[in-house]
């Protein structure tokens, strides 16, 4: 089946992102496809380029990026939820006259419409919230 995940918990604050990643690897192991992960609410912090977690803990941001590279999973971040929380890509940073950007590679800012779209076009949408 084609899966989409909705992640709404910040990394390291709540279990949501950990659980979502474990669910992701379980469903891939079973031969399903994880096509889309949508980050909303505090879940947008999963896309922070500058996160530097302790070395003896799982690196959640890199784990998402691995999914993108190995499975082709789209990592979609709600632009409205992200910008107000300081998660910003180069284009939006320029538009707002800011220096630097904070969105990690392989993630893309997009609208909530993409979440609705994902829910309609995938076989399953599974939500991970704190």
């Amino acid at each position: 089946m084609r899966y989409a995940l909705l992640v709404q918990g910040a990394p390291y604050s709540h279990q949501a992102a950990h659980s979502a990643l474990r669910f992701a690897s379980a469903l891939i192991d079973r031969g399903h496809r994880l096509e889309t992960v949508f980050f909303y609410h505090d879940g947008v912090y999963n896309a922070q380029r500058l996160a530097a977690p302790p070395q003896d803990e799982p690196h959640l941001i890199e784990a998402w990026q691995r999914l993108h590279h190995e499975q082709g999973t789209a990592l979609l971040v709600c632009v409205a939820a992200a910008l107000k929380r300081g998660v910003i890509d180069e284009r939006e940073s320029r538009r707002h006259g800011m220096q630097g950007h904070s969105l990690a590679a392989s993630f893309e800012l997009t609208g909530v419409g993409q979440l609705v779209e994902a829910a309609m076009t995938h076989d399953r949408l599974v939500t991970f919230s704190p």
């Binding site: 909705l6 909303y40 609410h41 409205a80 939820a81 609208g111 909530v112 419409g113 979440l115 609705v116 779209e117 829910a119 309609m120 076009t121 995938h122 076989d123 399953r124 949408l125 939500t127 919230s129």
Partner: protein, 124 residues
């Protein structure tokens, strides 16, 4: 099997009160965007979420815009199925007259049916 087909309404479950967090606002945003995408949308106010509907609300003390103006816009988006868990309302000392919009009260025993009749379900 797909999550949804065009004949099924999507359900947005709102479980948080206004002002204390952005759950309610961001949940309502999903409902509005769903409607703008041509989906039929139902809202279910559950638990503290019923407080979103209390009449006479103003802006939050922390400078947030508040969600009551968004609720007034729902009709413009053809979102007119507002389901309210009757127990959640009663437990908070509220009655239908205290709410700013007409709603449909749902007995807790009927919630399962509400969920099974909608797809997809978004939970905030």
């Amino acid at each position: 099997m797909n999550n949804a087909d065009s004949s099924t309404a999507m359900l947005v479950v709102l479980r948080h009160a206004p002002h204390g967090s952005s759950w309610l606002r961001e949940g309502l945003d999903v409902a509005l965007v769903g409607a703008a995408f041509g989906q039929s949308v139902s809202l279910l106010f559950l638990g503290d979420g019923v407080q979103a509907l209390i009449k006479g609300q103003q802006k939050g003390a922390l400078g947030q815009k508040g969600t009551h103006p968004t609720l007034d816009m729902l009709a413009m988006y053809d979102i007119d199925t507002l389901l309210v868990d009757a127990d959640s309302l009663a437990q908070r000392g509220l009655a239908e007259d205290d709410l700013q919009l007409p709603v449909t009260l749902i007995a807790s025993s009927q919630l399962l049916r509400v969920f099974s009749r909608h797809a997809p379900v978004f939970n905030f």
